[in-house]
């Protein structure tokens, strides 16, 4: 029986992986070939998807960009036993894009069948949860503290401190809420791991539950991720059958269970207080802080709200100890980050590396430059609320502090690359449009500021009272930064001001007026 892997990851499916899987099965049947088809997650080399892998003599040989029409020619070339087809990329693990990575959180993603709990354990799964069961709450939180893990959703708040706050809060009920409302353009790490290694998230949430004394968890999943929803729901059922979840987690006499809640297409619900409102079945309007959700969160109870990747980092931290994780990275940015190469990039995909590598390494070495082949012009880091940076800042090391010094943020680790066809004034304009579209409306600087911003940008584009409107733009941004209730209004000025600072030519009246024509 020969094992063939065809990813079920959304990116692969969107490029025809389902059809390829079907074609392989029917072709194998026609030829009487004995094959076992495994739908794995993606390896993160999305530009090669659908990437079909065949296990040959213990190695996994890859065939890239397979189309359903290629399947019979693959069989013809003997791809079940030989590695000589034009689409063959050799041993997948040896591919430089993967070989140079440091996969801690994504160690299993793309390798195993996401719903095979035995394979999960064979590849290091459940070691962390089993160790957590032997520890008391202080020790679990202590390990997270020691790891130096910071929130991977964008804000970078120390995870250990948040855990400690929830752990020490007194209450009859506490919650773990996983923020899987990954709405930032340029990010897909959450989706990938939920589709490719869902038990990792379940294990991370169970450990977090034991660590802070919470018995109930929710995954707040955006509705744009139907594949992740299907995989998660199946994984949760399997986890319950295997006592990873339930009244007696792995025989520990401690309870933890979780459910998936599907959002309804509101970007703002990625903001933690808005998310909690939505999870309570209300409008996703931002709450004022304090009180912190760690003390008064879901239904007013202490709630640990963490991003998917933060929670998925917990199993390995518990399995190998906080120090092991903290050995990766630099300065106050410990561990690894799942960088996501997106936009106009030749080799789009996921790169998990310790903090500290440069943007240039990511974009040029891993990403292979722009997809269009035209010169690089700008990269937006960390989603729609992230800064646009020019070529001369590409040698900055990727860590929280260094980027903050340059008015940018690592955010979620998503990089959207643009070639020289981009107009940064248009991108600044879009930042306001997006804010106007997605603002929850609770605070005035965001609700009204975003609309005023689009108006100012329109006048700048037309060259109307250009100098005054450029000043007005600065004023408006300052007001939004200082006056907004949450990051939506508070950070929309970041893409705007970074575009204006680093690409002033795009805002010049002549060019602006020309572009508007």
């Amino acid at each position: 029986m020969i094992k063939i892997y065809v990813p079920l990851d959304s990116a692969a499916i969107a490029l025809g992986a389902d059809e390829v899987a079907e074609a392989i099965l029917s072709e194998a049947q026609k030829r009487d070939a004995s094959v076992q088809l495994v739908r794995n997650g993606s390896r993160g080399m999305h530009w090669l998807e659908p990437l079909v892998e065949v296990e040959q003599e213990g190695k996994r040989i890859g065939f890239a960009n397979v189309d359903e029409g290629d399947v019979s020619s693959l069989f013809e070339a003997g791809f079940l036993t030989k590695a000589d087809h034009q689409s063959c990329i050799g041993e997948v693990d040896a591919h430089p894009f993967l070989a140079k990575q440091e996969r801690l959180t994504f160690a299993r993603c793309g390798i195993i069948d996401p719903l095979d709990i035995d394979a999960y354990q064979e590849h290091g799964g459940l070691v962390g949860l089993k160790r957590a069961i032997e520890l008391n709450r202080e020790e679990i939180v202590g390990d997270v503290m020691l790891s130096g893990l910071r929130g991977r959703g964008g804000a970078g708040f120390p995870a250990g401190i948040k855990c400690k706050t929830v752990s020490e809060a007194e209450a009859d009920q506490k919650y773990i809420v996983c923020n899987a409302d990954e709405g930032d353009s340029g990010t897909f790490a959450d989706r990938m791991i939920m589709e490719g290694d869902p038990f990792c998230l379940i294990e991370g949430m169970a450990i977090a539950g034991l660590g802070v004394g919470a018995t109930k968890g929710y995954i707040y999943l955006r509705s744009e991720y139907p594949v992740a929803l299907k995989v998660l729901n199946q994984a949760i059922e399997i986890a319950r059958e295997n006592n990873l979840l339930g009244d007696n987690v792995l025989g520990s006499n401690r309870a933890f269970d979780l459910d998936v809640f599907v959002g309804a297409g509101a970007y703002i619900c990625g903001e933690e207080t808005s998310l909690l409102e939505s999870l309570e079945g209300k409008r996703g309007q931002v709450r004022a802080k304090p009180p912190l959700p760690a003390l008064e969160g879901l239904f007013g109870k202490p709630t640990l709200v963490h991003n998917v990747i933060s929670l998925c980092s917990v199993p390995i931290i518990l399995a190998k100890g906080g120090e092991y994780y903290a050995d990766y990275g630099m300065g106050k940015s410990k561990g690894t980050l799942a960088f996501q190469l997106a936009g106009n990039i030749a080799q789009g995909g996921l790169v998990e590396k310790a903090f500290g590598l440069s943007l240039r390494t990511l974009i040029e070495d891993f990403g292979g430059g722009t997809r269009s082949g035209r010169p690089f012009r700008a990269v937006q880091i960390g989603g729609p609320l992230g800064a646009y940076l020019p070529e001369d800042l590409l040698d900055l090391p990727m860590d929280y502090e260094t980027l903050a010094e340059h008015g940018a943020g690592v955010g979620h680790g998503g990089l959207v690359v643009f070639d020289d066809q981009v107009n940064l004034r248009e991108q600044a304009h879009y930042a306001f449009e997006f804010c106007a579209e997605e603002s929850c409306g609770k605070c005035t600087p965001c609700r009204v500021g975003a609309v005023r911003g689009t108006e100012v940008m329109e006048r700048i584009a037309k060259g109307e009272d250009w100098a005054q409107n450029m000043v007005l733009l600065d004023d408006l941004c300052e007001l939004m930064v200082d006056g907004s209730l949450c990051a939506m209004g508070g950070m929309t000025p970041i893409p705007v001001m970074s575009a204006k600072k680093h690409f002033p030519d795009d805002f010049e009246p002549d060019q602006a007026a020309r572009a508007a024509e």
Partner: protein, 176 residues
């Protein structure tokens, strides 16, 4: 406490107990159907939103009648229910066209030509983004990120994801 007050308001102001519904035939059947879909979600965490998803999955949209039924079942005012529904982009008050295209208009897709893609689609189908044609055969809508940013531009046609999308690839999947 808040729930109890709103429940009282609801009972006092709406005068639309389910069983005493004066509308006949079809309307009554719709109310009953909605009741059956929504009722299992009462008491669930975030149940109102999940219930609205369920109604939309069944009917393709949220009819006006959803307001009194959901308000009654969830002990809220119709205004509160309306407030929730109107907040979320997923919920629609009219059925989409027989074909439903969503095109990503966020940054990653912009970097590889989604603005041009939208223009091409608008010209091809003679529809603006956000519109449905008169025969209700096609709806084209913007979406903000489908999580396929490494293989942009992204779109979704009748629930199926399309990466490295172009106007031809999308049109092929739209059923005539």
């Amino acid at each position: 406490m808040r729930l109890r007050i709103s429940a009282a308001l609801n009972k006092g102001m709406t005068h639309q107990p389910l069983d005493g519904c004066v509308r006949e035939g079809e309307a009554h059947a719709m109310t009953e159907k909605l009741h059956d879909i929504i009722a299992p979600y009462v008491g669930e965490t975030g149940g109102l939103i999940s219930a609205m998803h369920a109604v939309q999955a069944e009917l393709g949209y949220l009819p006006e009648d959803v307001l009194p039924v959901a308000a009654d079942l969830f002990n809220q005012t119709k205004a509160e229910v309306k407030g929730v529904i109107s907040f979320y982009a997923d919920f629609r008050d009219q059925r989409a066209g027989a074909n439903h295209v969503r095109v990503c208009v966020a940054e990653s897709c912009q970097s590889v030509g989604s603005r041009e893609l939208v223009t091409a689609l608008e010209e091809r189908f003679a529809l603006k983004l956000g519109e449905t044609d008169l025969a209700r055969e096609l709806t084209i809508e913007p979406v903000y990120c489908l999580g396929l940013c490494s293989v942009s531009p992204a779109a979704e046609v009748n629930g199926k994801l399309v990466a490295k999308a172009d106007a031809d690839k999308i049109a092929e999947r739209v059923e005539a």
